[in-house]
């Protein structure tokens, strides 16, 4: 589904990604962990070209991102993204937030877009919030709406960048359970998170990043119970 080869990316003189290779299969849930500044967000943002990259190649669902003939908007239609700070559109109701892209990008008729949006709201447990504005939602509710909004485009892959880091602790659970449900339904997911419980329970594979490299990867039990690298051990001893 996603194939990343020798991905390199710099901001000015600072090289943030120094050669990333990763292969993410369909229906796989890959969790990315690592210390702050290790390049996790940058890696994720390269996957839908929110950041351009300098070297290497990314192939998603057959689209070569570096190929000049690739329409990046087409790729993004297939790749949903959920941000740490939700980024809901504050001037639109919850329903309009969700229907906007299906209406304008997919050109769906209004009825179809609305019906789909209501279904998704039901799925994330917020059908009664369809007509409110985002600023009246709690953090957990806002993030669930953001997930519904991304799902409305019917993506094949979902990217999550620390979706629970901006939430009060009591709201983390409701968002994680929506993500878990999504994983159970077979969605291909790449999740950057500090929620090690989620990584262990839901992740098929864990990538540990440090200093712009993937230092170690394996199943959750490989990484958490039997880490091979010193840096992985040092990181885990701090967060577990």
């Amino acid at each position: 589904m996603i194939k990343v080869t020798n991905l390199k990316k710099s901001f000015g003189h600072l090289q943030v990604l120094k050669g990333i290779d990763a292969h993410i299969k369909e229906r796989e849930v890959v969790v990315v962990i690592g210390p702050s500044g290790s390049g996790k967000s940058t890696f994720l943002r390269c996957l839908n070209l929110l950041e351009d990259f300098d070297e290497g190649d990314i192939v998603i669902d057959g689209y070569h991102l570096k190929d000049k003939n690739t329409d990046i908007n087409k790729v993004r239609e297939e790749v949903g993204m959920v941000f740490q700070r939700f980024n809901l559109f504050p001037h639109m109701t919850v329903l309009d937030n969700i229907t906007l892209a299906p209406l304008k990008v997919r050109k769906w008729p209004l009825e179809k877009a609305k019906a789909t949006a209501m279904e998704l709201l039901k799925k994330v447990g917020l059908q009664d919030k369809a007509n409110v504005y985002p600023d009246s939602l709690s953090g957990g509710q806002a993030q669930r709406v953001a997930i519904a909004r991304a799902l409305a485009m019917g993506p094949k892959v979902m990217l999550f960048d620390e979706p629970t880091s901006a939430l009060d602790p009591e709201m983390v659970g409701e968002v994680l359970s929506v993500m878990k449900q999504l994983a159970n339904e077979g969605m291909t997911m790449v999740v950057v998170t500090h929620e090690m419980g989620f990584a262990r329970e839901v992740g098929d594979r864990v990538l540990f990043m440090d200093g712009g490299y993937i230092v170690e990867e394996g199943t959750p039990s490989d990484i958490f119970d039997n880490p091979q690298h010193e840096r992985t051990k040092a990181f885990l001893s701090k967060v577990l």
């Binding site: 929110l50 908007n73 892209a101």
Partner: protein, 218 residues
């Protein structure tokens, strides 16, 4: 000192005509300035230096030189190239529009750049083009924030349009000068004119406060 109300009375119909033209010029300038300003503001935000440069210099020129000079350049320089008999009113409308376009471009740019980067990223991540994201996500939010500086620009235009008197565009200030020239009296015409400007600008800022309150409670 006696105050000759009869002069004001005699000139009242002209002041009325003048005030209408003052408002008309300011309205034209704000409308044309907005259309040009949006284009110039977007142009100035281009990532390509060569695209950006002319827009930057447009803004530099019109904000960095006196409007007075711009009016003279337009009326005596630019317009004669296009028309045999340049109309002062048209020249005034053109120079005020070009001038306000530069200021409004900056209002647009500041408004757009005040919107959190995450909004554009969220819109793009959903597959929207840059233009769609601007149209449906960024501009509606930015426009709300532009209302105060925008109203302020309109107030400035009302006052600055008085400079068009120098090329004999018959707006309010022109008639003030005419009355002064006819009767060699200073206080009556100029105080009247000042008072009318004051009424215009104060009512506008009242309206602005009302709008601001209305939108801030939404």
């Amino acid at each position: 000192m006696d105050f000759r109300f009869d002069i004001i009375q005699e000139y009242a119909p002209f002041f009325l005509q003048g005030v209408l033209l003052t408002i008309g010029l300011s309205l034209i300038a704000i409308i044309v300035g907005s259309i040009l300003g949006l284009a110039i503001g977007l142009g100035k935000m281009s990532k390509k230096v060569l695209v950006r440069l002319p827009f930057e210099w447009y803004i530099n020129f019109f904000r960095g030189t006196p409007l007075f000079v711009q009016i003279l350049l337009v009326h005596f320089g630019l317009m004669p190239l296009l028309f045999a008999q340049p109309s002062p009113t048209v020249s005034a409308a053109v120079s005020l529009s070009l001038n306000s376009a530069a200021y409004i471009a900056e209002i647009f740019r500041a408004g757009i750049q005040s919107i959190d980067k995450g909004q554009m990223e969220a819109a793009r991540s959903l597959g929207m083009t840059h233009a769609q994201a601007m149209r449906y996500v960024i501009l509606p939010q930015a426009l709300k924030r532009m209302i105060p500086p925008f109203a302020n620009e309109f107030i400035v235009l009302i006052k600055d349009s008085s400079l068009a008197a120098i090329i004999a565009a018959p707006e309010l200030m022109y008639w003030g000068r005419a009355a002064q020239g006819q009767y060699y009296r200073v206080w009556e015409p100029y105080l009247t004119v000042a008072l009318i400007y004051l009424i215009l600008t104060l009512s506008l800022s009242k309206l602005l406060h009302y709008l601001e309150r209305k939108y801030s409670t939404q």
